[in-house]
Symmetry: C2
Subunit: 270 residues, 2 copies
Amino acid sequence: MTRQTILIKVGGGKTINWDFIAEDLRKIIRTHKIVLVHGANAMRDQIAEKLNHPTKTIVSPSGVTSVYTDSRAIDIFLMSYAGLVNKKIVAVLQGNRVNAVGLSGVDGSLWQAKRKKHVYDVTNGKTRLIQDNLTGKVTRINIRLIKILLKNNFYPVICPPAIDESHQIVNTDGDTAAIETAISLGIKKVVFLFEMPGLLKDFPNERSKIDRIDRKHIDDFVVLTQGRMKKKLLAVKQALETGIETVYFGDGRMKRPIISALAGTGTIIS
Amino acid sequence: MTRQTILIKVGGGKTINWDFIAEDLRKIIRTHKIVLVHGANAMRDQIAEKLNHPTKTIVSPSGVTSVYTDSRAIDIFLMSYAGLVNKKIVAVLQGNRVNAVGLSGVDGSLWQAKRKKHVYDVTNGKTRLIQDNLTGKVTRINIRLIKILLKNNFYPVICPPAIDESHQIVNTDGDTAAIETAISLGIKKVVFLFEMPGLLKDFPNERSKIDRIDRKHIDDFVVLTQGRMKKKLLAVKQALETGIETVYFGDGRMKRPIISALAGTGTIIS
């Protein structure tokens, strides 16, 4: 029987525990194939500070916050995501007998993005056009590379940035890219690990965790949430509309983070 | 007929021209498979300066200079080699229709190194034992991953660091690792590109280029050279003793760098 593939997206927060994640993966790969996608925003912000180019955000006219990415920010992105964090994760996984191969969306044109050429920033009520923003939305996945690796028992560990139609390196939203990857590969189960026990009704009160959401009611929760979590829920909504069966939210700080999430200790959306 | 594989090692100097290299590779992949190994020392030193942790060197009792690598230096190494430089190279190659996949020696345990646990530094005549030096010599190559990629027409773009027997990330000499990789893959032709027209008899006089060296006389040139070039020649000597037929030195700053080197405009050692 072919092993089912699970995609696991791990957030880039400071308190995510990669030793716990690796211990879980070591067990999970006995019965499943896995594709890992990770963030690195905490490390990115830290390196950006040290290099005197702190991370800047912009706010769209519809109120969505995103990172402003000029060419120096892309450099810092590459250093932190594809360099420091990706390779340290790979080493921890290798130490747990998970034969990980780290890739960015640039490698093998894994994550092909459509560049957002014009974005608007609203600051103090003034709308400003930004033209040098190097960001894009992943619209096409080179699944051939992922499939070849999985078939040969290598586990891809993927992170932003992506590559656009003119082969420029662009920042991209990791959650959306992870969902696109899962859809393209026909993956049915997606796990999101972050620095919370699950989706919180009353953020940041960790006791207000929601156990289960029916896909029909996601919109009710999209309204409740802000910032990154709103984006995440919108990506999840799209995922459930496009073939993914179940999305699990779980706590990336705790022991057995993936196995617990799959058992329903976080939030299950299906 | 199966296409012959060439390994190309490109130095990490500031004036290396990756557009020229990519143009050459685009032509070469019509008739050959390629494995690329690259350095990033200029960028590494620049980032290390900016992060207030400048690259330090140590000198062994036998007079060989090498980089001192503590854990912060490993972080900077990952940022510059595996992050910034590797992915920018991959993007340039993708833009030239060379389907490149960037990998560090950590990925898939590609470059397995034996850590040098004790190294000595001689400063002002005083010998000092250094115990936290995270460096090693690549002794085993996971050729399976490289072969799978090549078979599927992906071109691996490999850089240090390596991974040691206890799954720690360690700095390693790129030239030696490149040679080890070529030997393990049964590659017969290796091209080294750097910021010189070839091996110089009278460094840095670029008019003193040596056109051809017979493998029997390498030792005469090892005596003539210093620093990185001495290390490179020693690696080449080992290569020619272990199955590699021809090593080409060429100028990574010029147009048609690889095609010219293969045609003999640099230095040929065979």
